[in-house]
């Protein structure tokens, strides 16, 4: 046997040593996470951390300090030597408590930076659990934590970065029954939520509790940032007295969002919260910062109105003096989940099983997919015709062309979840494009993937 050259051996050895080192680091990181997690589990069990205990934990004034410890000085050195921030700014931050509502795309970077920067106590509210489709933007969570409470996961990540920060995880849905005492027990509130109802709830609770509200939002390539109820500036209701019609509100799961966009806004929210805590730029006039990732001018800061004396919430004679039912007020639920639409009676629709049968039988029909083209490009059923719902009335002739004189051909309409397919089927019926049946598929392609074809992608 030919013996390997010394060069080959050396190269192989160094390769293995590198792999060994990488594995050692991974083991160390996982051990640390395991330790922190199990410690926290023990803590939770010992204290029986239910809502009431959590609240009392949050309500207990945390110990404020007059000087930083040496480990703190070592950790925050780069901030301490900043003119305009310095030791006083760091102490102000250390003696401040902040509440982040939402541990999603905005809350993720916000919590990481606030925890790392040295906020004394950080509360994190979220009732959702970690899902793989969150991870492109909610970088505080990770793959191993799928199914874990987002509030817990976010708290764990902050503790791993900075054990000096006292993190409180509030694993609950914030509503008018529980919001006020929680808001009252923090100094600065950060709105990192994903729906209109919770935004109005937070606004009102912050007015009633006298807390500044650092509000961020993001969708597609756009983001917005405003501080409400701060230094004579407006509240959310001064700007938007009535909630938007529910059909004009788009959530991230329907509209899409570039992961970095809420990341940018979440970082800016952390920055604004730090500036409030450290009393920097206190003379600023109220503004809104608008971020458009794909415009030539990415950032635009606009001057906002001041507090409106006739505002029903923060005005001189407010008519709202306690929290109301925000889900009813907004006509939309307090989540970013898309609700099911019931426009057409179930018996006039078609199940995925029935459609599978039609396909298996090779029964002649036209399958019309009314999703947007970007979604159709991800995945589609074979030989389906794509006309997005919003173009359907203009392009009805294209459907007629497809029938090519087969005036009795049945048409089946499909979309992502079985919502858009209903108005589309209605439109086709009204236009009388076929004398055959026109039905839409309940649950859409999502249900097709769940019930019929596990290989079919879900997004």
């Amino acid at each position: 046997m030919e013996s390997p050259s010394i060069e080959t051996l050396t190269a192989r050895l160094s390769q293995l040593e590198q792999q060994n080192e990488a594995l050692r680091q991974e083991v160390a990181a996982l051990r640390l996470e395991q330790k922190t997690y199990s410690q926290h589990k023990v803590d939770s069990n010992a204290n029986g951390l239910d809502h009431a205990t959590l609240l009392s934990e949050a309500e207990t004034p945390f110990e404020k300090v007059t000087k930083l410890t040496n480990p703190e000085i070592a950790r925050y050195g780069r901030q301490l030597i900043l003119p305009g921030f310095g030791i006083q700014g760091q102490l102000d931050l250390r003696n401040c408590s902040m509440l982040i509502v939402g541990a999603g795309g905005l809350g993720a970077p916000c919590a990481l930076y606030l925890g790392a920067a040295g906020v004394g106590r950080l509360g994190i509210v979220d009732h959702d659990t970690v899902d793989i489709s969150n991870l492109h933007r909610q970088v505080i969570h990770n793959e191993a934590r799928q199914g874990m409470s987002k509030a817990e996961s976010a708290a764990l990540s902050v503790r791993l970065i900075n054990p000096h920060c006292k993190v409180v995880a509030h694993d609950l849905v914030l509503d008018s029954s529980n919001a006020q005492p929680i808001i009252n027990s923090y100094d600065i509130i950060i709105d990192a939520t994903d729906n209109a109802a919770t935004r109005y709830l937070l606004n009102d609770a912050c007015i009633l509790g006298g807390k500044p509200l650092v509000s961020g939002s993001a969708l597609r390539f756009d983001g917005q940032l405003t501080i409400y109820n701060y230094r004579g500036g407006p509240c959310y209701r001064c700007l938007f007295p009535t909630p938007p019609p529910a059909e004009t509100v788009t959530n991230c799961s329907d509209g899409g969002v570039m992961g970095v966009v809420p990341g940018v806004i979440g970082c800016l929210q952390a920055l604004e919260a730090i500036k409030i805590a450290a009393k920097i730029n206190e003379s600023d006039v109220p503004t809104m910062t608008i971020f458009s990732a794909n415009a030539s001018t990415m950032f635009r800061t606009i001057k906002l109105r001041k507090r409106k004396p006739d505002c029903i919430m923060c005005g001189d004679a407010p008519t709202i003096t306690k929290l109301i039912d925000y889900v009813r007020f907004c006509g939309a639920s307090a989540t970013d989940k898309t609700p099911d639409l019931f426009l057409i009676p179930m018996k006039e629709r078609m199940t995925v099983e029935e459609y599978k049968h039609i396909k298996d039988e090779n029964a002649p029909h036209l399958l019309l997919d009314v999703r947007e083209k970007v979604q159709f490009d991800i995945c589609s059923l074979p030989s389906s015709l794509n006309i997005p719902l919003k173009d359907l009335s203009k392009q009805i002739d294209q459907v007629k062309d497809q029938l090519r004189g087969q005036s009795q051909l049945p048409i089946y309409v499909v979309c992502r979840r079985g919502n858009d397919s209903q108005p589309a089927a209605r439109l086709l019926q009204e236009q009388g494009v076929t004398t055959g049946e026109i039905r839409d598929i309940v649950g859409g392609l999502d249900r097709w993937a769940d019930k019929i074809d596990p290989e079919f992608p879900k997004y």
Partner: protein
């Protein structure tokens, strides 16, 4: 007829109502007249009605409110300032103005 050159901009998803255009330069009449009312200098009320009639591709209810203003959830900026500071609907549009319509976002 005298006209005003105005730059209209759309953001936060507003552009979807305008065929995905984020910026449109328009020329609008410098005066309008209501029924039986004398001519008056073009104000924001006129501009909003003109925009809905001439530029919104479909579903004007996603742009218009019911009082001649925009629907709730849209913030209007006049030259980078909240239009409330300029008089809202009564603001008289000037040649060269930049008017932005922003849909407020709720996602996160």
């Amino acid at each position: 007829m005298a006209t005003l050159n105005i730059n209209l901009q759309f953001s936060g998803g507003m552009e979807l109502l305008f065929d995905n255009q984020k910026s449109i330069n328009v020329q609008i009449p410098s005066t309008f007249s209501d029924k039986a009312v004398e001519k008056h200098a073009t104000n924001m009320r006129d501009l909003i009605a003109w925009t809905a009639e001439n530029l919104v591709q479909e579903r004007p209810e996603l742009f218009l409110g019911n009082d001649g203003s925009v629907r709730s959830g849209i913030l209007v900026l006049v030259n980078d300032a909240d239009w409330e500071l300029e008089g809202e609907l009564e603001y008289e549009v000037q040649d060269g103005d930049e008017i932005v319509f922003i849909s407020t976002l709720h996602g996160g």
